[in-house]
Symmetry: C2
Subunit: 316 residues, 2 copies
DNA sequence: CAAAATTACGCTTGTCGTAACGATA
DNA sequence: TATCGTTACGACAAGCGTAATTTTG
């Protein structure tokens, strides 16, 4: 089975006649006859009902016709995309980001894309990581950022960095005897009332999974989804929380929250950039991927986004 | 650009070397070289960076690679589907039905499919027609039933029947001087308080559009979505409504509602079966389509679903 | 019997393989 | 200089066109 055969077959189906189709595709009619016979032999079905007044499709023929359209369309898209890829990147790229990462990444990313790729339309969508996983399975986004690639390991992915979760407190409500901002051992956490997202949230899953082997049981006073609400509550001194630094950088910069590393054990999670395999690569999506890496490198260098550095662990 | 060339290209990309790929696909290495050069000439891009240690993909090469996977996958699906089409229909078929039609159609349809196509898994999903239109644009359903094909006229569709909307009243609350169940002219409708769905509902759009040219303005006392709620309300005598007979056949059979044709003008709407062009035809979907026609013919013959018959109009 | 599809048969063209050549870490 | 990709060229088969044959409403 061959693209040319499929094109011929489409012409035959549309013309309802080998002779007419032969004229249309500029090929002698017996040649088409041969191709159809070859297809029928290969697929082991009858594709056409022949009559002296032309041909009609059998059911199998209809099935082949619709699939032939698919294949031809895919091939045409391929040609267009590759031809485009030589010139300036253009078109839409949709990018799913977990809210905590969107907070720190989406603005500089969008600005850089605007600047470097003026013809690319970036749709940065932020959502809980569960949704992003669904979108990567479907056709919704070209790229996504995930913490947990367990269920999508088959997809094309690359690790961006490793985030280290921190303990957050209002500046005037530091609950431990140590000085504010000094490392908090996991074993001390039960002393404080925590505000955490519900177990359907990726962050919560990660926290529970990391804490479990230590045998420590957290004192979760409030379960609340919505990052903004959690931060507000903690900033008012009505509890404490555990977040990635990027998720609360705004409050920390304004002095409304202070953060402290969590140790024994450290709570680290890898961050992956995942490509949707169902969405073919375009030049635009490649460039957005490249710029994402660039922007992240920059954010890390400027200390705006903190990466877990295994060396600091070893130095202890 | 040719399927074979794409297969070769995928092998080259995966092996990172023309020579290695040549072994894998059992072709002499210079032949692959030729094919790549031909592709590059046709597409007017460079696909490979050559080195004496192998080749690496350029950006355009990556774009082609991902599209090549698409094309090859589409072709494989085509082969499988056509081979399957010779044997017993099997697989999943999803079918979007407007709620009013689902009420009368989905059970007999599902039963017939179960009986005649035991290996086919029918997913009959009922929803407002707006959703069904979206699903037909997307990848959600194979088949759908719609009233209005204005925006999807390009899709493959066939008219199933024409429904005639009727006036519904509680049996003991007939509001007109005529005998209960006798035809109701549109001009009489303003006398009664109607319960109708909101304007986002397909039925309401259709009613408004049909009434408008007559200059009559309806007395819509309540806008309420949810067919069940509307029928309950009317059955309790708290208003009157306009529906397709199929949408209220349950209440009519139980004697909780009576219905009357609406005349001057009649309110008719065509019903279309629409095929999703993005979902390739399978044997199973063909058979479901056939059985749908069969079941509808049967429902019409048994009077369970009433079709508008233009002859009765002419007879007036 | 007429219109259309199939079979038969040379011929062209595209694809492959072998062999020689060229480029680079 | 060894390894890989490219160029050159002859061989073969796939696909095409012309012509004759078969099929069927």
């Amino acid at each position: 089975m061959d693209i040319r055969q499929l094109r011929y077959f489409v012409a035959i189906a549309e013309e309802g006649s080998l002779s007419a189709a032969a004229q249309r595709v500029n090929v002698a009619q017996p040649s088409l006859s041969q191709h159809v016979i070859a297809l029928e032999r290969e697929l082991d079905v009858t594709l056409l009902d022949r009559s002296p007044r032309g041909v009609t499709l059998t059911q199998s023929g209809e099935v082949l016709l619709s699939h032939a359209h698919e294949v031809i369309a895919a091939l045409d898209r391929a040609r267009d995309a590759v031809r485009q890829s030589g010139s300036e990147p253009q078109g839409a790229v949709s990018f799913g980001l977990p809210s905590s990462i969107a907070m720190v990444l989406s603005v500089p990313l969008a600005e850089t894309v605007r600047l470097e790729l003026p013809k690319v339309k970036l749709r940065a969508i932020d959502a809980m990581s569960g949704f992003i996983k669904d979108w990567l399975d479907g056709q919704t986004v070209d790229l996504g950022i995930l913490y947990d690639i367990g269920t999508v390991r088959h997809l094309n992915h690359r690790q961006l960095m490793t985030e280290e979760l921190h303990f957050f407190s209002a500046p005037d409500a530091w609950p431990f005897e140590s000085s504010p901002g000094s490392p908090v051992p996991v074993s001390e956490l039960p002393q404080v009332e925590l505000v955490l997202p519900s177990p359907q949230h990726g962050l919560r899953v990660m926290i529970d999974r990391s804490i479990k082997p230590t045998g420590v049981s957290l004192n979760i006073a409030t379960e609340m989804d919505g990052l903004g609400h959690i931060k507000t509550m903690v900033a008012r001194g009505s509890g404490y929380t555990i977040l990635a630094p990027a998720a609360a950088i705004d409050y920390v910069e304004r002095g409304e929250l202070i953060m402290a590393p969590i140790v024994e054990p450290r709570l680290v999670r890898p961050v992956y950039l995942v490509r949707n395999p169902a969405k073919p690569v375009t030049r635009a999506s490649q460039e957005v991927e490249r710029i994402t890496l660039e922007v992240i490198r920059d954010l890390l260098a400027r200390g705006i986004w903190q990466a877990f550095d295994p060396k600091s662990d070893a130095a202890e």
